[in-house]
C-alpha cells in the first residue's frame, strides 16, 4: 500500500514535470479563415512546422473572419495568443500605435530570407520604420470577364479606356450589362474607385489621397469620378447593386446578364462554384486610362503578427521565419489559390489566374493595399459610402466630395 502511494506521488511529480516542460514550448495561433481551402493551407503549414520542430506544441484556434475582427480587440489585451492573423497597412495601425503588436524588425534584419525576398511587400508591413508582421499570402485584383460572351460578340480584352468604353457599349447593345457588382457591404465599390484613381492619377496621387494629403474636391480626384460617370453612361453596372453582397453579384455574372467583374482573385473559386468553367472565365488587367502612367495594382496581403502580450515570443519568431520560407509559401498559396509574397517562392503554373496575377503584380510599379486598408477606418467607411451613393445618384457628386473633405479634415488632424 505504501509503495503504491509512493509510485503515485512520483508519477504525479513526473507528469507535472513533463507538463511544465511542454508548457514552455506551447505556441498558440489564432487564425481567421475556417473556409476549406484556407484552413487546409494553414494547417499544412502548421504540420510542416511541427515536423521540423517536434519540441514545440502548437495549438490552433480558427475563427470566422468577421468574428476574428471583433475578437482580436479583446484577446490581444485579455488573453493574447502567441501569433494572430491580421492585415497590414492602416489596418494594423491601431494595434501598433497602442503597443499591442510586437516589433519584429530584428527578425526581418537577421533572417536572410525575410531580408532579401520580401522587398516588394516590406513597405506595407512597416510602420514607424519598423516591421510588425510577416505576410503569408496576397492576391491580385483586376477584371474577371466572361470569355464565352466576349467571343460570341466578337469582343477583345480592352487595353485602354476607349476600348473599355467601346466594349461596354457593345455589351449593352447586345443586352448584357457590362459590369456586375454588389455594394451592400460597400468595399466592392472601393475596388472600382481604387482602380479608376490609380489609372487616372497614378500611385503617388492615390497614396496622397488615402494619406489625407490631397482633398477629395481636388480637380484630379474629380476627374476620376468623371471617368467613373463615363463608364456608367456606357452601360455601367447592374441595377440593385446596393442590395447585393459580392457573392450575390456573381449570379448575374454566372447566368450571362453581366460580363465583367472588378474583383480580387479569391473570387475565382466562387465563380466555379456557380457553375462556370475555366474556359468561360478569364482575367485582364484594369485598362490604362491616362496614357503613359506607370501601372500600379491593388494587391492586399494577409499576414501573421505576434501580440506584445504573447507568452512564447521565441517560438513565435521561429514560426514566422519558418512560414516565410519559399517552399512553405509556395505550397500554402497553391492550396488557397493566391500568390506567395516571397519572390523566390514557386507559383502554381497550372492555374491561369495565378500565372496572370503573378505577371500583373510582379511587373507593377506600385502596390496599393486597398482603400479600406490604405485609408484610416473612419475615412474608409465614409469614402465607401460616398462611392456607393455616387453610383446610385451621380448628380450628387459635389455634395459627396464636400462631405468627404469635411470628414477628411477631422480624421487626419
Amino acid at each position: 500500500m505504501n509503495s503504491l502511494f509512493k509510485t503515485t506521488i512520483v508519477g504525479a511529480f513526473a507528469a507535472a514535470l513533463t507538463l511544465s516542460s511542454a508548457f514552455a514550448g506551447d505556441l498558440v495561433i489564432n487564425f481567421d479563415d475556417p473556409n476549406p481551402a484556407p484552413k487546409a493551407g494553414f494547417e499544412a503549414a502548421v504540420e510542416a512546422f511541427k515536423a521540423a520542430n517536434p519540441d514545440v506544441n502548437v495549438t490552433v484556434n480558427i475563427n470566422d473572419r468577421e468574428a476574428h475582427k471583433t475578437a482580436i480587440r479583446n484577446f490581444l489585451s485579455a488573453d493574447a495568443p502567441d501569433i494572430t492573423a491580421w492585415y497590414p497597412g492602416n489596418r494594423m495601425a491601431p494595434f501598433v500605435d497602442a503597443g499591442q503588436f510586437e516589433d519584429i524588425s530584428d527578425l526581418w534584419a537577421s533572417d536572410p530570407n525575410l531580408s532579401t525576398s520580401f522587398e516588394a511587400i516590406k513597405p506595407t508591413m512597416t510602420r514607424d520604420g519598423k516591421q510588425w508582421g510577416v505576410p503569408y499570402s496576397y492576391y491580385q485584383w483586376g477584371v474577371y470577364y466572361r470569355k464565352d460572351i466576349f467571343d460570341k460578340m466578337g469582343l477583345a480584352e480592352p487595353t485602354n479606356w476607349a476600348e473599355l468604353l467601346d466594349v461596354s457599349k457593345k455589351l449593352k447593345e447586345g443586352g448584357v450589362t457590362p459590369f456586375t457588382i454588389g455594394t451592400k457591404f460597400l468595399w466592392t465599390a472601393a475596388g472600382v474607385f481604387d482602380y479608376l484613381n490609380l489609372r487616372t492619377n497614378g500611385y503617388e496621387v492615390h497614396n496622397a489621397l488615402t494619406a489625407g494629403e490631397i482633398k477629395y474636391t481636388d480637380p484630379r480626384i474629380k476627374k476620376t469620378f468623371e471617368n467613373w460617370k463615363e463608364l456608367m453612361d456606357a452601360g455601367g453596372f447592374v441595377d440593385n447593386h446596393a442590395t447585393m453582397s459580392w457573392q450575390d453579384a456573381i449570379a448575374p455574372f454566372a447566368n450571362g446578364d453581366a460580363a465583367m467583374y472588378v474583383m480580387g482573385n479569391f473570387s475565382v473559386a466562387s465563380y466555379k462554384d456557380a457553375g462556370l468553367t475555366d474556359d468561360q472565365i478569364d482575367f485582364f488587367q484594369f485598362p490604362e486610362i491616362t496614357p503613359g502612367l506607370a501601372r500600379a495594382e491593388e494587391a492586399p496581403a494577409d499576414a501573421l503578427f505576434i501580440p506584445s502580450g504573447a507568452k512564447n515570443k521565441e517560438d513565435a519568431r521561429r514560426f514566422l521565419a519558418f512560414i516565410a520560407q519559399p517552399e512553405i509559401q509556395g505550397e500554402w498559396n497553391k492550396t488557397i489559390g493566391q500568390l506567395p509574397p516571397n519572390s523566390k517562392a514557386p507559383i502554381n503554373t497550372e492555374d491561369k489566374f495565378i500565372v496572370q496575377g503573378f505577371e500583373t503584380v510582379s511587373t507593377a510599379s506600385g502596390l496599393a493595399q486597398f482603400f479600406d486598408r490604405d485609408a484610416p477606418a473612419e475615412m474608409a467607411k465614409a469614402g465607401m459610402e460616398g462611392f456607393q451613393e455616387f453610383m446610385i445618384k451621380p448628380e450628387r457628386l459635389d455634395a459627396i466630395l464636400e462631405r468627404l473633405d469635411k470628414i477628411q479634415e477631422r480624421v487626419y488632424k
Binding site: F95, A98, K184, N240, T243, E378, E385, Q388
Partner: protein, 317 residues
C-alpha cells in the same frame, strides 16, 4: 409584504420564548432589514450592469477614444460634431418614422384580435397562425423580407412584372428603404399587439356588454364606449412595448441593409453600433454620445410611462 411575514413570526415566537438571550441589533431590526436583504442582489446587479454603464457612457462621450489607446478629453466635442453630422439627422428622422409608423401595430393588432375573438371550430389554430410571426426570430423575419423585396427573384418584383412595371429596388432606394424595413418589422409587432388584445378581450365584462346592448349600443358605438375603455390596460401595454420596440429597432436593420444604402436607413441605435463597434468604427466617444442622445429620447417616453403607471397604482389603492 409577503417576504417580511416569515421573519415577523419568527420574532414573535422568539419573544415569547422564556429565558431568551438579549436580542442583537439585527434581531431587533429584522422586520426593516429583511426586505432590503431580499432586494440586495437585484439592486446590486442592476446598479453594476445598468445604472453604472449609463453614467460610464456619459463619461466616455466626453472623450475621443478608440478603445485601445489613450482616451483624449474633448469636452462637448463629440456632441458638436453630432450636430454637424448629416448621418445623425438621417438617423433621427428615421427614428421618428419608426416611432410613428410602428404604432400602426396597435390598431392593426386590435382589429385582428376583434376579428379572431369568436367561437368557430379551429379558432385556436388560426390564432396560433396569426401569432406565429412573433415566435420566429427578428433575424429570420428580416431575411425573409429582404428576399420578398429582391427585385430579381422576390415576390414583390414578380407582382410588379405581372403588371408590366419595372420593379423598384426597395432596399436599394433611399426613399423606400426605411418604409420597407418598418413594414417588415410591423409583421411580428402586430402579432404581439394582437395577443395582448386577445387576453384583454377575455377580461371584458359580459355584464357591461349586455347592459350596453340593452341601452341600444351596437357596432362602432359598442366598441368605442364599452369595449375600448375596458381594454385600456392592454392598449397601454401595447403602446409601451411598441414605442420601446421602435426606439431600439436594430436587428432588422442590421440584417436587411446594415444601415445602407449609404447610411439612409440608419437609426440611432444602429448608428451608435456602427460608430462604436463595427468594423470601421471604434470611435467609443462618438458612439457614446449617440447613445446618450438616444437615452434622453427614451427617457422622455419611459418617464411618462412610469408616471402613468404610478398614477394608476395610486388610484388602485
Amino acid at each position: 409584504m409577503a417576504t417580511a411575514a416569515l421573519p415577523e413570526t419568527e420574532t414573535t415566537t422568539r419573544k415569547a420564548a422564556p429565558g431568551g438571550q438579549p436580542k442583537s441589533w439585527y434581531q431587533k431590526n429584522r422586520l426593516q432589514i429583511a426586505p432590503w436583504l431580499f432586494l440586495a442582489p437585484a439592486m446590486l446587479f442592476f446598479t453594476v450592469y445598468v445604472i453604472a454603464p449609463i453614467f460610464q457612457s456619459m463619461w466616455i462621450s466626453f472623450y475621443a477614444w478608440d478603445g485601445l489607446g489613450e482616451a483624449e478629453w474633448v469636452g462637448l466635442g463629440n456632441y458638436s460634431e453630432l450636430l454637424d453630422d448629416d448621418r445623425f439627422y438621417t438617423s433621427l428622422w428615421n427614428n421618428l418614422l419608426w416611432l410613428v409608423l410602428y404604432l400602426l401595430a396597435v390598431p392593426a393588432g386590435l382589429f385582428i384580435a376583434l376579428f379572431l375573438n369568436q367561437t368557430v371550430t379551429g379558432m385556436r389554430l388560426y390564432k396560433s397562425l396569426f401569432f406565429f410571426p412573433f415566435v420566429i426570430s427578428q433575424v429570420v423575419v428580416g431575411l425573409i423580407f429582404s428576399w420578398f423585396y429582391n427585385p430579381n427573384f422576390g415576390i414583390v418584383g414578380k407582382v410588379w412584372e405581372f403588371f408590366g412595371a419595372v420593379p423598384p429596388s426597395i432596399l436599394g432606394d433611399e426613399n423606400f428603404v426605411t418604409y420597407g424595413i418598418i413594414f417588415a418589422g410591423l409583421w411580428p409587432q402586430i402579432a404581439y399587439c394582437m395577443i395582448l388584445y386577445l387576453t384583454g378581450l377575455n377580461n371584458v365584462s359580459p355584464d357591461q356588454v349586455e347592459a350596453g346592448r340593452l341601452d341600444g349600443a351596437k357596432g362602432w358605438k359598442m366598441l368605442r364606449y364599452v369595449i375600448l375603455p375596458q381594454l385600456w390596460p392592454a392598449t397601454f401595454l401595447a403602446i409601451v412595448v411598441t414605442v420601446i420596440g421602435a426606439l431600439r429597432s436594430f436587428d432588422m436593420i442590421a440584417i436587411m441593409t446594415q444601415g445602407g444604402p449609404y447610411g439612409s436607413s440608419n437609426v440611432l441605435s444602429y448608428f451608435m453600433f456602427e460608430q462604436a463597434l463595427s468594423e470601421y468604427g471604434f470611435r467609443m466617444g462618438y458612439g457614446s454620445a449617440i447613445a446618450v442622445v438616444l437615452f434622453l429620447i427614451m427617457l422622455v417616453f419611459i418617464s411618462y410611462f412610469l408616471w402613468n403607471m404610478y398614477q394608476d397604482e395610486k388610484d388602485g389603492h
